[in-house]
Point group: C2
């Protein structure tokens, strides 16, 4: 939550926090503190215990005001950035400008400079600021902002639920289309066209657009053997075929910057016994982990629960790797159970063996066990849920059925 | 160009270059050296004069091989990252892992760590690496990778041209739709719906999807008064009206990571004399700057040329701000002439007063003069061009006409 920023600054002995970037795109920390998108980014400065200050370009100031999260917003020109550029040149003006701003806010102690930017430039910036007398600190994960962003406010959860509702529309529409494929001359047809992965992906794109969503990281729609690779996005020329596994993993982002993550796996027509067993095992693993998720549960226990179920169904799991028994598994449950979702599609907390931290109320995580069998295909079932005091709540309801 | 990396490493006395990130999304330097997208990112390491090494997760190794740019690709597990995590914990394992990899490649001199990542974390990483004995250097702009990415290979230009062709399709389709609006009961209609900015934006989204493009930074379709703010994206509820200015600025990205940038400004139906004068001035300014663009021209001279024309047409320009005569201008040509386009939508070179560097063959830049008059609206005309020895070439042809 936003209010964690001050709490964590105090706890960690940090006097000043700077979040910066030349765009909010792909800069979740900056989007978070600004409360929206700024095409040309900005500089957010906060002294512990005080209201923050946001600087933007003249072109973005109206947009910044509409974002509404920071009350005091000024332009670079208001603080004579141009004069510093004329005096010191472009490269040297920036650290001097920051130095001047920090001084103006009375920040004298440890300062953190955050935001997603080029590291080579950031490391240079830190060393220039240090020469100018600022005490710059680095942060090991979780940074103050990662920690704050980890628990979502009611507004944020509603925003994510909204993205979930739209995502569910897209998935339901695609399932509708697939339930209406025609069988003709040994192929499956959508309307007058062969049912290929590429055609379905185009439909997904159109549906996303009509919901005002984008998919900056693409969409996984993998059919048959390629679904056995959890991150294969699907080969456009692959034809859909009856009884073959399809993994449909969709992770769109809305204008607000928030994401949603949802996976369904199915076959068109009848699935054989082997596939049915994969599906039932994954579904049982998801239900078992959903059942125990709640505030206070160590994250790795959810992962462990999912592995228990999958192992009881005679599939291998990544626990073998974690326990050092093997380097990698060639089939079975080969990834972690889940990850946080918010202004990024992969953030804290992680439902994985390495994560011992207890879950916190307001976290939003995916729960996505999977089983992959080379040459056969994969089954993954994924929902995005929010952690509560008593349990967890799925943020968008979509049917889970194997055969469509 | 990719080959500039080695040249610049030598010239700047750098022994090792590391480019890293937990995703290639929003990480153009990593996308560039990898030659494609890796959902979970990776670590690219290069010793000066030697072939690079790329490490990815087990899940992404097949994708990384398909990217094809790096020949030697391994997984983290191949270098026992898990063991380091078990020994040192997650946070400390990473710098130790990098240290081990750098040692393995025989890198002993200055090392640059690049890639778009959280600065607070990066500054911590740099200080840990320094304690472990690595000589980490920062970079003022232009970094080695910015410099390399500034000039595009023939393949890259073809890729950008491809995005341009698809972008042109979208723009032409929207112009078609707008030439067929109906006038009824004092409103404009598209089919049976009122012609609003929101409706047009939905069409744009659908068209982008059908071209397999996304618009991660949105699209500007600003009508009437809101077009007077160069970065107003357009108010969905605004109705289109005859004779009012519309600025349509579209900047989509393709799967490959490359962007295109194109703007047209027009009125539906007749434009009045004042608007016609704005349009003609901007068009003349664009033509005049396109005429002089070529290898060797100092970038600021193109900017200056556009201002000459716009000032001769009695509009104010940002030159007044650059020359310190005023802090900002309230109307006229209030931004720079252009910026580079590639794996980002705003990169070097900049066609601006501050940029004295001569243009280089293979650069891809926008040429986008504009004139904005509060309450009336804006006109901006923008094409993306590549710089050549003899001049420049527009990468996608789209008609420039005021009235549609």
């Amino acid at each position: 939550m936003l209010s964690d920023i001050d709490v964590e600054m105090k706890r960690r002995g940090i006097d000043g926090l700077v979040v910066l970037g030349d765009t909010t795109l792909g800069n979740p920390d900056l989007t978070y503190v600004v409360g929206g998108s700024l095409p040309r980014g900005g500089i957010y400065l906060k002294r512990v215990g005080q209201e923050p200050l946001l600087l933007t370009s003249n072109l973005d100031i109206h947009t910044a005001r509409r974002c509404g999260r920071v009350k005091k917003i000024m332009t670079y020109s208001d603080y004579d950035y141009e004069k510093l550029m004329a005096q010191h040149g472009r490269a040297e003006a920036y650290p001097r400008f920051l130095q001047k701003l920090l001084g103006g806010l009375g920040i004298k102690g440890k300062v953190i400079v955050a935001g997603r930017n080029d590291l080579a430039w950031g490391i240079h910036l830190a060393s220039r600021l240090r020469s100018l007398g600022t005490e710059i600190e680095g942060e090991a994960a979780p940074t103050i902002l990662e920690y704050a962003r980890e628990t979502k406010s009611t507004d944020e959860i509603n925003e994510i639920r909204g993205v979930g509702r739209k995502t569910a529309h897209v998935v339901n529409s695609i399932v509708d289309i697939l339930s209406n494929v025609k069988r003709r001359r040994g192929h499956l047809w959508i309307g007058t066209k062969r049912a290929t992965v590429g055609l379905v992906k185009q439909e997904i794109g159109t549906l996303l657009a009509s919901e005002n969503l984008t998919a900056p990281e693409g969409t996984i729609f993998a059919a048959g053997g390629s679904s056995a690779d959890p991150h294969n996005r699907g080969n456009p020329s692959d034809e859909l075929a009856e009884g073959k596994l399809i993994v449909f993993d969709i992770f769109p982002q809305s204008d607000s910057g928030y994401w949603y993550d949802l996976t369904r796996s199915f076959t068109i027509g009848r699935a054989d016994k082997k596939i049915r067993h994969m599906f039932d095992s994954v579904r049982e693993a998801q239900e078992a982990s959903l059942e125990i998720l709640q505030e206070g549960l160590p994250a790795d226990e959810a992962m462990s629960r999912a592995c228990d179920v999958i192992e009881a169904n005679e599939f291998r799991t990544v626990r073998e790797v974690y326990e050092g028994k093997t380097r990698e598994i060639q089939s079975g449950f080969s990834h972690s159970l889940g990850h946080g979702v918010g202004l990024t599609i992969g953030e804290r907390p992680y439902l994985a063996f390495q994560s011992k931290d207890p879950l916190r109320s307001g976290q939003v995580v995916t729960v996505e066990p999977g089983v992959y069998v080379p040459r056969v295909g994969g089954v993954r079932i994924e929902d995005t849920v929010t952690i509560t005091k008593q349990g967890c709540r799925i943020l968008a309801d979509v049917q889970k059925m194997l055969e469509i």
